[in-house]
């Protein structure tokens, strides 16, 4: 017998499915082997490869924090072949999971600092793991004020509504801002795009780290605002998305310059990103 | 090839036009006429929908013969 291949997934079972928006579902997944689940060791910001047998594999960020229990959550938008099939799955069905892959948010470096999370659309998923991590009873004391700014096209497109409106606002020293792109009946919150809302809130860069994730166009304009607000490049952290097949730095497609997003990323500070060629 | 053996049951893929052959096969069913299950019927909106690549693909996937009818 030879060693198990790193390309072989662990069998896992879907234990819960939450409809977030019209095309996003959050799957709670538990790896069947309790020992493997126990030692999975995912850190906030890491990704995993999900197998839907018959369709292949897809790289999905782990949206749950390890502090919340021995399970994994994946928020998946229905965009392609595999995700279409995954969306038809029911609780109890089996998928494959391998990972965790990639680096994680520099939560050690963030200790003692205020955190400002900015996300748009589905992109709240990868940073939700870090939000839950710093808001956990265990680690909340290590971090300063936590502010979360989240925007989507409409109310229906807001993911994790329970977290946004119930769970997170109740946490100590935590503020949640939500915005939608266009006014809507029944919505009395902020209306407008994420970058302009950031400018409105006008966060001070003092002792603060901003964690930004969203569609490229949102990132582009938000970074311009952050620069205006005098955030330094190493105060801004983001996480990237790339097509991946192996997740372990061999299949050669997720490179940005000589860095592989799957093992050197997906988390980069803006300072690090500026060292890389603009090919993402 | 096992074509010579007596109990050879060919797999036939039939691409049938919605408006004639498929309707005919349907009528045969409604009229309780029996035909061997060797033909796997695939309904197409028109036999013009059948691309040569469908035929090739059927052979590649193990069909013994392909029927295009319309």
């Amino acid at each position: 017998m030879h060693n198990p291949s790193p390309l072989t997934p662990y069998p896992a079972t879907i234990t819960k499915i939450v409809d977030e928006t019209g095309d996003v579902k959050t799957f709670t997944v538990v790896i069947d082997d309790p020992e493997v689940m126990e030692n999975f060791g995912n850190k906030p910001g890491q990704v995993a490869q999900l197998s839907v047998f018959g369709e292949g594999e897809s790289t999905i960020s782990i949206t749950s924090s390890p502090t919340r229990g021995k399970f994994l959550e994946f928020s998946v938008r229905r965009v392609g072949r595999l995700t279409n099939v995954l969306h038809q799955f029911e609780v109890g069905q089996k998928i494959g999971v391998r990972g965790p892959y990639g680096n994680w948010f520099p939560y050690e470096m963030m200790k003692g600092k205020d955190l400002f999370f900015i996300a748009g659309g589905i992109a709240l998923a990868p940073i939700r793991s870090l939000i839950d991590f710093v808001l956990s009873d265990q680690y909340r004391k290590d971090y300063g004020k936590v502010e979360i700014l989240y925007g989507a096209r409409s109310y229906n497109d807001l993911c994790f509504k329970q977290d946004l409106f119930e769970r997170w606002p109740k946490c100590p020293d935590t503020k949640v801002y939500t915005t939608i792109d266009r006014p809507e009946e029944g919505w009395d919150g902020h209306v407008g795009f994420v970058p302009s809302y950031v400018e409105e809130i006008n966060p001070s860069p003092k002792n603060k780290v901003a964690i930004i994730c969203g569609p490229p166009i949102m990132i582009k304009f938000t970074l311009a605002v952050m620069e205006k607000l005098k955030f330094a490049d190493d105060q801004i952290v983001t996480t990237l998305e790339m097509k991946m097949k192996c997740g372990i730095g061999k299949c050669g497609r997720c490179n940005i310059g000589s860095k592989y997003v799957c093992i050197d990323g997906p988390v980069f500070t803006l300072a690090q990103l500026k060292q890389l060629p603009p090919e993402f | 090839m096992s074509v010579e053996t007596k109990d050879f049951e060919p797999k036939i893929v039939g691409f049938t036009c919605n408006w004639c052959s498929y309707a005919g096969a349907d009528l045969a069913g409604v009229s309780r006429m029996k035909y061997p299950p060797n033909v796997r019927v695939i309904r197409v909106p028109c036999s013009g929908r059948v691309n040569p690549q469908f035929v090739l693909r059927a052979f590649q996937k193990g069909a013994d013969s392909v029927l295009v009818s319309g």
């Binding site: 390309l7 197998s51 292949g56 790339m242 097949k245 050669g252 000589s258 | -």
Partner: protein, 346 residues
């Protein structure tokens, strides 16, 4: 290490024996002009006088199509099975550039995540190198501190000298093969042959027509990602995968499932090419390398810079296949030359 001698007349017998006892893979002529590494059943099939194979032998360690998993999946139940370990294989007649390429692939599949498929094959393969006798106009291995008789990386290195093969035994794997077939591997005084080999290597090195100097090229690429030069190169590229599929150091692959029945299927990994548009195309529609310009640049950056950055090894071995096979004459040595010039003018 050790060295031996195989009489030329006895080589067919040795190859016959190796083919009988193991899986023997050697250069085989197909059609008029094509040489490929294939499994042979005896010496008569082996094309000993080949110059270079049209496709590199890397496929015997990193196959173009490889099953990584078979599964039975009903939705509620799941069973997975990994394929059996690969059998012991002897790769005979590998040219120095191709041996070198395997050394360039090793660190890709090693590292934090050990790629068992590659490493098992690598472990179970004995590589018998064969020194070149003819230098093609496309050859430029000397640019990478290698040469037509360079045995680095081969378990055994054969060099034809007169009516004898001078055999260098470079590794333990090679040694045990020599011991198992000791009647063919003669213990003679090889000092003269070693010298003759040196001379032959020198002579052959003088025959290279492509003088490639890599000095400063990496620096140009380190400092410049955007170069107007790439605009010039990519226009003629057809976007086919020839260069990547014949390349001995290209290692990109795709993973996908292939269903074989209602509940069963296999997972495969297959060579993929960075020259194809869907290589980096994400399900959402975004493609970080949307045009041939980015893809061509990425390929040459990978060969001349990225591989060096990651593994401190050259990503090219100078086999010249991409030069010979490219339908539009995109020539990596020309690109190296041009980049140098770009650097000097900057």
């Amino acid at each position: 290490m050790d060295s031996r001698v195989v009489n030329k007349g006895q080589l067919p017998e040795l190859l016959d024996k190796l083919a009988r006892d193991h899986i023997l893979v050697a250069p085989v002529r197909e059609e008029e002009n094509i040489t490929l590494f294939k499994r042979v059943s005896g010496a008569s099939e082996v094309q000993l006088d080949y110059i270079t194979s049209d496709v590199s032998p890397k496929g015997w360690i990193f196959p173009q199509t490889e099953k990584t998993l078979s599964y039975t999946y009903t939705g509620d139940t799941l069973e997975m099975k990994e394929p059996d370990a690969p059998p012991k294989t002897i790769l005979f007649g590998v040219r120095p550039c191709d041996v070198r390429s395997i050394l360039a692939l090793d660190p890709v599949f090693e590292g934090k995540f050990l790629d068992t498929f590659y490493l098992e094959r690598r472990k179970n393969t004995v590589i018998i190198g064969l020194s070149c006798k003819t230098i093609l106009s496309t050859c430029f291995c000397t640019a990478f501190n290698s040469g037509p008789c360079d045995g680095t990386g081969a378990d055994l290195m054969f060099t034809e000298l007169g009516d004898k093969y001078y055999v260098e035994v470079n590794t333990e794997k090679g040694k045990s093969l020599v011991e198992a077939y000791s009647q063919y591997f003669l213990k003679e005084d090889t000092e003269k042959l070693a010298k003759a080999k040196e001379e032959q290597a020198k002579k052959l090195e003088g025959q290279f027509t492509r003088k490639v100097d890599l000095d400063g090229v990496k620096k140009v690429l380190d400092e410049n990602f955007e170069l107007p030069y790439w605009e010039k190169v990519f226009r003629k590229c057809l976007g086919c995968g020839i260069c990547t599929y014949v390349c001995p150091t290209c290692h990109c692959f795709d993973i996908f499932d292939y269903t074989t029945g209602e509940f069963t299927g296999n997972r495969f990994r297959c060579w993929d090419s960075c020259m194809f548009p869907d290589f980096t195309l994400m399900a959402g529609g975004h493609n970080p390398r949307p045009s041939r310009k980015e893809r061509v640049r990425n390929r040459f950056m990978h060969k001349l810079k990225y591989h060096m950055d990651r593994y401190n090894l050259d990503g090219c071995v100078g086999c010249g296949r991409c030069i010979a096979k490219c339908p539009v004459n995109i020539d990596i040595t020309q690109i190296i030359k041009d980049l140098k010039e770009v650097g000097q003018n900057a």
